[in-house]
């Protein structure tokens, strides 16, 4: 098998997950930031679950939920004529859920951090909530949004348990870099495993350095 394929697959999975988290996470975070609903804490807890659950638990339930015998799995197979589990699409679903808190939390914190007076000023100038979000809240939350995207991307690169549970180890389809390392070690190919590991280590370090750098500049401008 090609050495580079798992790495490319990892990047593809992380990128698709990040884009989906951005598209769905922004409105969700907005709702969490500004809703006055009392039961909001339940939604917040559900989103935060992947932070504390063993990835195998999450993976197990996801497998049950999207497997052949489940409603979703059955329905998906009916439309696309293939299973959702053990496919790239299934991995995306799992990664999306597993990475929700890493995107939503920074988004939400950034949105609530915008001075309420500025929102009131915008409304009092005749602008709708959507306009206010697009031109006031979002630009002022830039750092938080970028941080959320980068963190979810990086965390997705480092994901192992969920991927293995619902994706298995199919070369070119679900065999991402982290799984490849495990596989190489099982086969006693320590050299190859070492290269994968070193690449992931360097990558993770660079990503975190970027996040801290962005936030350092952010704080410097604030004070």
């Amino acid at each position: 098998m090609n050495f580079i394929t798992p790495l490319l697959l990892t990047l593809k999975l992380s990128f698709v997950t990040m884009v989906l988290l951005f598209i769905i996470g922004i409105p969700l975070a907005y709702w969490l930031a500004f809703s006055t609903l009392r039961l909001k804490f339940i939604v917040e807890s559900v989103i935060a679950l992947p932070l504390v659950l063993p990835p195998t638990v999450l993976g197990f339930y996801l497998l049950m939920a999207i497997g052949r015998n489940s409603f979703i799995g059955y329905w998906y197979e009916g439309i696309f004529n293939k299973t959702l589990a053990f496919s790239f699409q299934g991995l995306v679903v799992g990664s999306f859920i597993y990475n929700l808190p890493f995107a939503i939390r920074p988004f939400q914190l950034a949105f609530t951090g915008v001075d309420k007076k500025l929102l009131e000023a915008s409304w009092s100038l005749g602008r709708s909530k959507l306009y206010t979000f697009l031109f006031i809240i979002f630009p002022l939350s830039r750092q938080g949004v970028i941080t959320g995207c980068i963190l979810s991307f990086a965390h997705c690169v480092g994901e192992f348990g969920v991927v293995l549970m619902i994706g298995g180890n199919i070369p070119g389809i679900t065999r991402v870099a982290s799984v490849a390392i495990y596989d190489e070690v099982q086969a006693l190919n320590y050299g190859t495993a070492n290269i994968y590991a070193a690449i992931l280590l360097a990558f993770s370090f660079v990503i975190l350095a970027v996040v801290y750098f962005i936030n350092r500049r952010f704080f410097m401008r604030m004070f």
């Binding site: 000023a121 915008s122 009092s124 100038l125 005749g126 602008r127």
Partner: protein
């Protein structure tokens, strides 16, 4: 004509106000802190909702609890000036002023408005680069740019130092007159009322206790005088017959002689708000009456 008759109960405070704001005039909402001034302003603007009552502007019904009407603030024609200005920090002065204006002419309008407050040349500056007084003026024209029917000002000058405040009182007066906008401003400064307001509504513990012209409110039924200067007592030196009272008005001190008996009668103390009234011959000192 704006009519407001609303009530709201918080844990330890009840607000129940009922008054009208005269059209085309500048009205001051005066009272100690915690008397409900800012909340009243927020009800009118629609930023907050009262428990019950009505708010009407001319024929328009803005809020009617029992009819379940609550026009969103975007559709109430108001301009709101916040105490700390609430300028958008990521937008230039120009963009801030243009924010509420729609239509093709907006850039030309913005230029005119900025020059109106003497800040031409600052179009590309960010709010963080402006002084307090400059921010205040930009926030004022931003609120007026939409040509609102009612301008609401929440302690517009309280965050500024004395010198800037005095200069801005003049600017504020000139700009409000130029726009002919019905204005309601919250203040606890008597000097400001004398400078700006045609009409005063006094709030205390969530209720309107008095309303009228500044003279009617602060001088009771006494004779009107030629000159009136509002200020604060900063010194009283009394002997058995006469007392010398030092009054601070803006950055000027006035010293005036008063009967010692009068000082006792008024229970005049350092820190009191007073009005000096003078005709061609005699000088009279009035203590500002805020209690009903």
């Amino acid at each position: 004509m704006l009519k407001i008759c609303v009530e709201k109960t918080w844990k330890e405070f009840k607000l129940k106000v009922d008054f009208e704001i005269p059209h085309g005039k500048v009205t001051a909402l005066f009272g100690p802190s915690g008397s409900g001034k800012t909340s009243t302003l927020r009800f009118i603007s629609g930023l907050e909702m009262a428990d019950g009552g009505t708010i009407t502007y001319g024929e328009e019904l803005w809020f009617h609890k029992t009819k379940r009407i609550n026009i969103p603030l975007q559709q109430r024609s108001i301009g709101f000036l916040f105490q700390d200005y609430a300028l958008f920090p990521h937008m230039t002065v120009e963009k801030n002023v243009a924010y509420g204006i729609r239509g093709k002419e907006r850039l030309r309008e913005v230029k005119e408005l900025i020059s109106l407050v003497g800040l031409s040349g600052y179009e590309r500056y960010y709010p963080g680069q402006l002084s307090g007084g400059q921010k205040q003026r930009i926030a004022l024209i931003r609120a007026l740019a939409r040509k609102p029917k009612i301008l609401l000002l929440d302690e517009p000058l309280s965050a500024l130092d004395l010198e800037t405040r005095l200069r801005l009182q003049e600017d504020l007066k000139r700009i409000i007159q130029q726009f002919h906008t019905t204005t309601l401003f919250v203040t606890h400064d008597v000097t400001e009322i004398y400078k700006l307001a045609d009409y005063v509504i006094v709030l205390e513990s969530g209720m309107v206790v008095k309303q009228g012209t500044p003279e009617e409110i602060f001088m009771g039924k006494r004779l009107s005088t030629r000159i009136q200067i509002a200020g604060k007592v900063v010194g009283i030196e009394s002997d058995p017959i006469m007392a010398a009272v030092t009054i601070l008005h803006g950055d000027q001190y006035f010293k005036t002689l008063v009967d010692t008996e009068e000082v006792h009668h008024l229970n005049l103390m350092i820190g009191d708000n007073v009005v000096i009234g003078a005709k061609s011959s005699d000088v009279i000192l009035f203590k500002v009456l805020t209690k009903s």
